[in-house]
């Protein structure tokens, strides 16, 4: 077995939390159950990984199998990477019969014809998602297994989730391969990025809870009536509180919000000051960048009004994030109600 492969497997196993190593190796399926029984999973991770490498040596593992283990790790822990969303367009109206074997063949062919040295690995999952792992090399060097790009694509959808590696130069090639293989015409990057892959999926596939007013019989959810602990305390602002709750629920829905870490607003608006003060000599846009960060941005926005820190309803610039499927905005001057977020392509 190649030294580099052994080292790669060793390092991949070290990334896995100790309690999960056995299950992940079972999912991998490269080592037999009998072989797994011989490993003591209670020892130090260093030793566990050495044992695993030893067994892989016996089975003559090559980089292809090691790559599969890496995909499994990233599938279970996708939040360690930053994911961007790309949108594809097509003009035709023909029905797409997505053939997985065909798709994989096309991608491999496209990438390998451009770059001889590239490792491409696929893995399909139950939710019609294809995971693609690409390790990039150059015409003169072998693929660097530690600088990988990941692509997640759900068949027959126009969205691709890419976690690019540091080597951005290979991105155009990757995009081209995806467009051709999935029968689309072009692809562009959306202004939507996050660590939480599932939340990005929720936003573009509209899987987050939207409050639709329907007659569909839904079981009434018991709303928590806060126990009146002390009758001597009277809520003077009860009406206002209820109004805020209602408005909040209309905007954000009842369920959990998709998990985003930040929203960035690039302002290119004119500085509005008292004309007498005349702060700036030249009338040029005041460049300013506003960034909201949070471990869970949308949940914190949802709790702003009930906590009394902001007025309800919140600014549409904040609440439109899931619906517009973007968390990077450019705000320019607009003669209208509020500065429109004109998308710069």
């Amino acid at each position: 077995m190649d030294e580099t492969v052994a080292e790669y497997i060793r390092r991949t196993v070290l990334k896995i939390p100790r309690d999960e190593i056995k299950t992940m190796l079972q999912k991998w399926g490269f080592l037999s159950e009998a072989q797994l029984q011989t490993i003591n999973f209670h020892q130090l991770k260093d030793n566990i990984s050495q044992d695993v490498v030893q067994l892989c040596e016996e089975n003559s593992a090559d980089i292809k199998q090691a790559a599969v283990l890496d995909i499994i790790y990233n599938y279970i822990y996708p939040n360690k990477r930053v994911w961007s969303v790309y949108q594809m367009n097509k003009t035709g109206e023909e029905t797409d019969f997505f053939d997985l074997t065909d798709f994989k063949k096309k991608i491999k062919r496209r990438l390998r014809s451009a770059l001889k040295n590239v490792t491409v690995t696929f893995r399909e999952y139950e939710d019609n998602a294809v995971w693609i792992r690409i390790a990039w090399g150059t015409p003169y060097t072998k693929p660097n297994q530690y600088k990988t790009s990941y692509v997640v694509y759900h068949s027959q959808t126009p969205y691709v989730f890419i976690s690019a590696s540091v080597l951005k130069s290979n991105l155009p090639l990757l995009c081209q391969a995806l467009v051709v293989a999935s029968n689309y015409h072009d692809i562009r990057e959306m202004e939507l990025r996050s660590h939480s892959l599932n939340s990005l999926k929720d936003i573009v596939f509209k899987r987050y809870s939207q409050n639709f007013q329907t007659y569909y019989p839904k079981p009434l959810q018991e709303r928590d009536i806060a126990p009146e602990t002390d009758l001597r305390i009277i809520q003077e602002n009860k009406n206002e509180k209820e109004r805020i709750e209602r408005v909040n629920r209309e905007i954000f829905g009842d369920g959990p919000q998709p998990k985003l870490e930040f929203a960035q607003y690039k302002l290119e608006t004119m500085f509005k000051s008292d004309p007498k003060m005349d702060v700036l000599d030249k009338k040029e846009p005041f460049r300013c960048l506003v960034k909201f960060s949070s471990p869970h941005l949308l949940e914190s926005l949802k709790s702003l009004a009930p906590a009394g820190m902001a007025d309800a309803p919140l600014s549409p610039l904040l609440t439109c994030i899931p619906q517009k499927a973007r968390n990077y905005f450019k705000i320019r001057e607009k003669k209208g109600l509020f500065p429109g977020s004109f998308v710069s392509p």
Binding site: D99, H154, S155, F205, Q210, Q213
Partner: protein
């Protein structure tokens, strides 16, 4: 004055105490009398209540007796139909209306700025998911938001019919969604109940309009691997338009026939039902001596 002085010297507090005690007694007495009066008033009210009830019951009995002598059957006195009964009837009829909406599959509700439609899907008696559409009416009919899966060609259907014929739009969309739900249901049922007959993985896609898999056919106590490719060309249909069943090379004659028969079956019946017929056919074959 001297008395007053004597008082002022030693007995002021004692005097005050005495006055306090007297006041307290008077208050207690007053409270007692008040309570008794209250009690009396309550009992009087109770007596009135009971008298009223007695009168009512008496009247009722008299009416019933009269009724029995006079007409047959019980005459429902409109005065007797309480608000409770009306409310119950209203709730029942609303539930029935909702049930009708649920059964037809498309229900709509007016909103502040337009209409919200909910399309329910079902396949052969099993209710599946529901999808909602929030439409705005002004300045033109357009979709505000929706929960339709992204691989359903909603924009195409909307471009064709939304402005001109909303009914057609909803009907076409409902066809797409129901067919998709049906195809997905068949594939799920196949994977759930007949996984032992399938070799390897079932290749499918989001729309479930292309299924490729291998399955085992047993004939004369030998199993043969068949490969099948189901293409669902019509997105509004839950049966395939193209079926290719291939046997292993050099098959015995009967096997080729079986392949053709299976191909025909897949074209006509639901996937899981086709497989169910295979297993029952096998059983009948094995049962024969």
């Amino acid at each position: 004055m001297e008395e007053g002085k004597a008082y002022s010297l030693n007995g002021v507090f004692a005097h005050l105490e005495m006055l306090e005690a007297r006041a307290h007694e008077a208050a207690v007495k007053q409270e007692e009398t008040e309570q008794q009066e209250e009690k009396l008033a309550r009992l009087k009210a109770r007596v009135q209540e009971l008298r009223l009830q007695r009168d009512e019951l008496r009247a009722k009995v008299e009416r019933q007796e009269k009724g029995q002598l006079g007409k047959r059957g019980v005459m429902s006195d409109p005065a007797q139909r309480s608000a409770q009964a009306v409310l119950e009837w209203k709730i029942k009829s609303i539930k029935a209306t909702l049930q009708v909406f649920y059964l037809t599959g498309i229900s709509g509700k007016l909103t502040k700025r337009g209409v919200c439609f909910c399309i329910s899907t079902a396949y052969e008696g099993t209710y599946l998911d529901s999808y909602c559409l929030d439409l705005l009416i002004k300045p033109e009919v357009r979709i505000h938001r929706h929960s339709v899966p992204v691989f359903i060609p909603l924009e195409q259907i909307a471009k064709k019919y939304l402005q001109t014929d909303i009914r057609r739009f909803l009907s076409v969309l409902s066809d797409h969604l129901n067919a998709y739900a049906g195809r997905r249901y068949q594939a799920d049922q196949l994977q759930e109940h007949f996984s032992d007959q399938i070799e390897g993985t079932l290749q499918r896609n989001s729309l479930c309009n292309l299924l490729v898999f291998n399955y085992n056919v047993s004939s004369k106590s030998k199993t043969f691997p068949f490969k099948v490719r189901l293409l669902y060309g019509d997105l509004c249909c839950s049966l395939p338009t193209e079926v290719v069943v291939s046997c292993p090379p050099d098959p015995p004659a009967s096997l080729a026939e079986t392949a053709a028969a299976h191909s025909d079956l897949f074209r006509r019946t639901a996937l899981h039902k086709a497989f169910r017929s295979f297993s029952s056919a096998d059983e009948s074959v094995d049962g024969a001596p």
